[in-house]
Subunit: 323 residues, 6 copies
């Protein structure tokens, strides 16, 4: 093993590498000549990279499984805009001497600080019943633990543990700062809605190994799961406080969650019909789009052009600048 770890994010086109990674996924595939090759998805805390190993046999590859730590030897290359490793040797290694932190992708920001910021904003809500409901969520340790480790989405490249928390805290901060510019929006409700809008992703995605959708996630979706979670916590807060939670507030919260995608086309079963709901939708949209633009520009490995490659998802190229 190398003395100084070579992280995924630092790999360069053309370098040879010998390093340990966590094997996230392992597939044997046949090429057109019916020869087998290995497609290995590997990661460390800084990112995910694919490895290809030609002409392998099922027997030789039987010794490694997804979830193992593996030491690989190979050559890094740029292929269709992404780096990959052409692997010449792959072996399982014992996990005992490895630092688990090296292989956990995490938010670039400090999770506990972000959590504190979140709690402080939610506990600053001055509607006592709404604040009590928020507390019911915050004291659910399993939930908050999952929430802190959830990625913002399942797409391999930019999915990292803590990504959802980062997104939510940034939205909450924005909502807080501009509150006085929009007195017609109830900031209490908006802050609660920011917290709840994507909470269902905790059950929509499995994010222990590779990030994937759960069956529940695909059949029901995080919007409706979010409503189920609100129902559970409303029942809890009513037990705790021994008084009914206001029906209209509960409806408004569920509506915030169900409508936050803003359009039927994007899977919202209801259009936003309150000022808070339309505000939440547009804040969420602003953050997602600005983030995606900035990331696409930063991540473009190509330095010859003023423009990123055409992105089918965004339906455009982005301007990186001429200077």
């Amino acid at each position: 093993m190398t003395m100084t770890r070579r992280y995924v994010q630092d790999l360069q086109d053309g370098e040879t590498i010998e390093e340990v990674f966590l094997l996230v996924d392992k597939q044997l595939r046949a090429n057109r000549n019916a020869d087998l090759y290995l497609l290995a998805t590997m990661r460390d805390k800084t990112g995910i990279i694919n490895g290809l190993m030609w002409n392998v046999s099922e027997e030789s590859m039987a010794q490694i499984s997804a979830g193992d730590h593996v030491q690989i030897k190979g050559k890094v290359q740029l292929y269709q805009g992404s780096l990959q490793v052409i692997v010449t040797r792959i072996t399982k290694v014992a996990s005992d001497n490895l630092d688990p932190e090296d292989f956990q992708p995490t938010s670039s920001q400090n999770v506990s600080e972000l959590l504190e910021q979140l709690k402080s904003r939610l506990l600053g809500i001055d509607d006592p019943q709404l604040r009590s409901l928020m507390e019911c969520f915050l004291i659910d340790e399993d939930l908050m633990d999952s929430f802190s480790r959830a990625p913002a989405g399942v797409k391999a490249h930019h999915a990292y543990q803590g990504g959802l928390l980062e997104h939510v805290v940034r939205l909450m901060e924005m909502a807080w700062r501009i509150g006085d510019l929009y007195p017609e929006v109830d900031t209490n409700l908006l802050l609660a809605g920011v917290f709840l809008h994507d909470l269902g992703k905790v059950r929509e995605m499995a994010f222990e190994g590779a990030f994937t959708y759960t069956d529940e996630g695909q059949l029901i979706g995080h919007l409706v799961i979010g409503v189920e979670m609100i129902n559970e916590k409303v029942a809890e807060v009513e037990k705790l406080t021994n008084e009914p939670f206001p029906v209209e507030t509960a409806l408004r919260l569920k509506h915030l969650v169900l409508s936050h995608h803003g359009q039927y086309d994007y899977g919202s079963p209801k259009l936003p019909m309150t000022p808070e709901a339309i505000a939440l939708h547009h804040l969420d949209n602003f953050d997602a789009k600005v983030h995606e633009f900035a990331r696409s520009i930063e991540d473009d490995p190509n330095t010859d052009s003023h423009w990123t490659p055409f992105s089918p998802r965004l339906d455009r190229k982005l301007f990186k600048g001429a200077n």
Copy 2:
């Protein structure tokens, strides 16, 4: 009061009328000259009709309220394809001597027979856990009572108590009869899905007086309300049977409800992703469209043309035939 009741469905353009109706809605409006007129929505068990009374005062109209039985005198006329009454006198009458059955719009079919047919199909489900869940719904008397009285929709003209039940039983019959033609569809699940798909309408609509949407109905919608109802009954059946209800079956039922509108555009947050879900969507669609075509042709009061008037909703005229 007339000896033989003159029902809404029998009224003719041009006739003078003196009859008692249930006042469903009462509005005072100003015309362009700032004179007030009354717009009264009235019904009996056979239908709904609007009444207009010119040059009224707020005081004189203060004596009648929505929910009252009123005796009106006036002249029936055809206006833009619908009948209405030009009212010359309107007075409140006591409800004591009136037969409530005369004013309840109901299904043209016998409700208790339809309910029996529904129960028999659901109790014929041979998956014991799914059947137990169905029983939990069927023994909830308040729910089944509401379900039996719910209209299929809120639109005034074709909304009648029992309309939802009729629709559901017709779908269930169809699903039952064609089951063997589609062995790849699980008939048990499909029958349960037919029963549950619109059940949330019981809370989406208020159908005691006039039919309107509830706040919950507009903010959350009958699809998500349906999921909440499944969650409640699954908890009940688990208590009753003292064993867990199968997670996958519950997910499949919720998915049936959430996806039955078939497209994001129509407010489904999920596309149908199981054979039962796509079957339910298309059966529902078939029934709704064939029913609407037939009704539009039957209800067209105009006998001069082979064609109905252009329907903006259907985006077409319908052919009534040349013979």
Copy 3:
């Protein structure tokens, strides 16, 4: 030749094979190095499979042609979700000793039984003039022969002779069974429409060898061809019966055919404007979609996931179940 025939539907990933197939299509292609390879489409009565043979010459391949029976030797492999054969030898064999039935893809159901079912439903129509028209179609042996052998579509995988007949008979059965639930739909017309709606496919597709579109099919389409066929048979029935066929019935039948795709987008030049037309459209849609869902789930060779791969055509994954 092997003693027991190895059918396409029974082939397994990884097996070596030596068997005779019907060569449906033969293409020589150059790879990036300008070397030629053979892409052979082969079939027997159970299905279609592609074969690839590397580094061939035009000369060596000149001895085989589409339509020949060929004996191939090779290895079966799974490639991007479909099985294919890497061929190492291919030779033409005489057809004399082969059983033609082994190479004719046919409906899984008995064609003559299906034809009987079809006839019996059409001859049960109680409008005498409409029934006479149906008879004119049924006694046209060439037409009925083509109709019995037509696939439901040209897509290689699920196209088999008799597929169209299966689809039509299933629709007819469904229309028949639910007739009494929809008294407002004229069952006579609907049954005739079910028979006629895709009849133009007999000229739209060439289905003797591989299934392809004819020039007429692409330039005119099976909807308008269907109208032309109605015109021809109406002329015949008028000659036979020596009385005019009712104009309105002919118009209604043509309208059923022209509108059965239900929307302009799907190539219908007219929207359905009669109860029978809307019913036909939705029955056709129900059958097509339920069939496609069921087939996509059955045909998925991948057993690791609860989900099929994403289908661009359906714009979704399908749930195969967790059990």
Copy 4:
């Protein structure tokens, strides 16, 4: 009766009028007070105008019928951008002393000259079989008579007898003049396609009295009717010439007709797939749109603004100019 006829096109807002018109349509309607009024659609050769007569009785109006010539007295007024007449007296007059030409709306151009121009272009086609087919249409006197009197569409305002002929001849002239700029387009086929593309309108519309759609027109449409007409004439020309008409030419002609709306959305069951078909579609579109723009600007009675009123059909206002 006035000495000098006062034509529809010359009427002015505010003038009083006493003149004879052809009664195209007569409707009795009830206003909100259940009083009857007459809505009369009247025309002369220069245009169509509506008349309203208040407080009439069914009896008094029984003496006039659509198709009669009527003398009316009333006042012209501008109402929502169109002129109408408030009628104070209406009586039937004998047709004997009237000049039928005064009441026939016709093309502003000479019909027989246009017909000559059409014939000369079609007989100039140098493919003998195609020219023979064109002759079969041209010698069908009933057909050519209807064709010469057909309007370009049914919309009351700009529908006039001869409108279709004008449109077709203008297109043919354009196709002829630019032929050498596009050598890749077969001018023979294009000229034939120009002639045939809207020919089905002869049966799609009834244009003897008011212009309306026929049942056949609404259920089948002029595109498919056009194909039926081609089939009939191809059979005729084969009989006449005693040789088969070329199959491909017939397919290309039918394709020209079926695809000329250019998109599925506009009711074409096939997209244009030949150079002639795409050319015909765009020529037709050019003529229709330029004509509609010019007409909307000319016909705008409002002189205060540089802009026409917003046209929902065009989804825009048009600029009439500041000078």
Copy 5:
């Protein structure tokens, strides 16, 4: 004249009124009986209201013109959700004794304070060339004067002088406050873009009397006009500073203006392709939508329902709350 002015915003359904307003527009129209009535659009600094006066003559109305101050007597009434006045007398009054401030609709906020805030943000830009360009705009007194008086749009109801300035300053404040949350967005460029994005409205609209579009506004639009204004000021700043303005900065500014509607559908000829452009689009959208929701809820005069009337523009009702 009343002692205390009765402002438009304080008028109540049913009150009688005698007050002076500025006549913004005057139209004489004919009703169905050909009688003339006056439709007068009147305003004071708090809003705009329509007045109707029945049975007027052209002569009697010739004494008043748009732009006059008029004293009217009449009765206020609610008609289809808006207040209007049924006028019984209208006379021109001299402007001498009137306070012009009473009739100027203005922003609810202090224009000069808003202007100061705008200037301070723009002069805080730390790119010297961009700041110089901003100064060129700020020292153009005519331009800044128009900009301060421009409404945000032409729709009568919410158009008031200063509306555009309010919108721009609110956006600028928001951009400023969240700048550090999005370090990947160049705040200098974004602030300049916020200032420039709607600047072309100064020429797109005429806002001296009633607010209308100019010919230039309709033919070219405020996006392209904005580009023309940037070109003019870039030429000025180059003359002033005697050095070329950076080409890329100018392109980025023009792109910000041209793409700020975010989609081709909304009239942007270019999609946002820089982080600043996507940020500007979404901020603009957020502000517009939240504002519209809040305003629709506030302005709804109907107090019986928890919901606003259906808004075709928003394609939904809005929830005002049950409390």
Copy 6:
């Protein structure tokens, strides 16, 4: 070097070649085995072709650069419908003895003749101010030189110098010939609009080496650049003539340019709102579509089928004919 030059347009599948081309673009790429290969884009005056050279090293390829003339040796092959060269040797050659004309792609028509035709049409405009403006463009030699060399678009295959000029002259000829058929269209304005509509492409594209979009082209687009060019020339003509250019004419010209794509979707910020604008849009569309159809049919190298391959861009196959 061969005696008779072998041009790109004459190359055949399978031939070996040794010829000199202009190297337009040079890319080194890694295949899946991390081996490098060269992708070379080469051209002569008749077309563009790609060359592939396997297993190269960065060092060996350092001797050639885009812009060089290179002699290559290799074998031509058809790959996925296009010809390419598998290169076995590539070397730089001196340009001294080469005829530059051999490597300049140019219009198939004579550029100077086309320019004369353009000038003659524009100088035939009889509105003196508009003609003066046209002269200002025509005397700008740099501009006209660029205009003459601009391709109609950047797509490699059909981009050739002079393509834009050809397109514009063909449109102008068409506009001229049909002028008298549409007297409601101002031919002067239309001719000027035809000339100006794509003029901005001169700055939108860089067409000296390979054809690419400029930054300005992508951020602003040729429509808005065209408006900027009109503004510049209007300023010039005002200086030259010492009188103001008519405001409305300038607006109409800018509107012609901005609206010529006809729909928001296609990047026009304004819909056509004058007869000339709608005419220009449809002429442009006609020419583009007919040209594309004809070219797709001509260029299809496959001779086995009556149909071109499916074109995703056109969303259809094209019929090449059965004969």
